[in-house]
């Protein structure tokens, strides 16, 4: 079955918007971190899908192979995945700290506690 050429980009947009919605609409801080991860993965899939060449193989040199996928986005995304896990770890550590101080990870309850004298 032949999918339209822009189908991958549309899936990426759907994924990105799902992550975006989770980040801005949900009150739970752990859920927000998960939403951020979904957003991130959608950007990764976008980059990797750009690097694909029809009929090409993975960018590992081999005799008799002429067409390779573009290696540059792969390198960038390798870096980005590792940086992404670092920010996730930091975000989750902040969530744990917020829970210690406020006793909750729900945004509205934190705001309510901030407002009380």
């Amino acid at each position: 079955m032949e999918l339209p050429g822009l189908f991958t980009y549309w899936i990426v947009v759907v994924l990105m918007m799902t992550g975006f919605y989770v980040v801005i609409a949900q009150g739970n801080l752990v859920k927000k971190v998960v939403g951020l991860n979904i957003f991130q993965v959608s950007v990764f899939v976008f980059y990797i899908s750009m690097s694909k060449v029809k009929g090409g193989t993975a960018p590992i040199l081999e005799d008799g192979i002429e067409v390779y996928a573009n290696p540059l986005p792969h390198v960038l995304i390798l870096t980005a995945i590792v940086v992404g896990i670092a920010t996730t770890a930091l975000g989750l550590a902040l969530v744990v700290r917020i829970r210690e101080t406020y006793g909750t990870v729900e945004e509205d309850e934190i705001n309510a506690r901030e407002r009380e004298p």
Partner: protein, 183 residues
């Protein structure tokens, strides 16, 4: 990829955070499968190890230290949905003049990439071009990445480290704020 979208939607709907952590692991594995299909084997390795492994462990650790049930909100805010739909529509409009998936004539394949593919075997050595670019041509990027990881690790240690708990314990008027955290 459709599976990924379905998983993401389920993630957005679920309230049990334990299930959310597990599903985000599934999501990462699906992403890794997609990367293999798109010929990015190195990225797939990293995603499977880091995204599905380490991220899930971190998430579960956080759930142990906090709580695993999300509060039920009675009213659904409509404004975020509108914002998201509008942004999505604009992005879809933006994709309309993108080069098609797998198109060998896309501009991305005609600038530096051919040089890496032709010369990296002779200039750097390893048959894996991704390794050559990562370690040699873009070595500074990788150095910066290591710096970011170090900073993040230092930040996590500062936030959750043992010395901070010791300081809080010796400072009793501060502990009034955190009743059940100390377990």
């Amino acid at each position: 990829m459709v599976f990924m979208a379905v998983t993401a939607f389920t993630l957005a709907r679920l309230r049990n955070l334990f299930a959310v952590a597990m599903l985000s692991g599934v999501f990462s594995l699906l992403a890794a499968v997609v990367y293999v299909v798109m010929d990015a084997v190195d990225v797939a390795f990293t995603e499977a190890a880091v995204g599905a492994g380490i991220a899930t462990v971190l998430m579960l650790g956080t759930l142990v230290l906090t709580t695993d049930v999300e509060k039920v909100h009675p009213k659904k805010p409509i404004a975020p949905l509108i914002v998201v739909t509008l942004t999505g529509a604009v992005l879809i409009y933006g994709t309309l003049d993108m080069p098609h998936y797998g198109d060998p004539n896309a501009p991305i394949h005609h600038h530096v990439a051919p040089r890496y593919i032709e010369k990296s075997g002779a200039e750097v050595g390893p048959p894996n071009i991704v390794t050559s670019v990562l370690a040699s041509y873009r070595g500074y990027d990788t150095l910066g990445e290591v710096t970011v990881i170090f900073t993040a690790a230092a930040g996590v240690l500062v936030l959750l480290g043992r010395w901070r708990r010791a300081a809080a314990a010796s400072n009793p008027h501060k502990t009034d704020d955190e009743p059940e955290a100390r377990s």
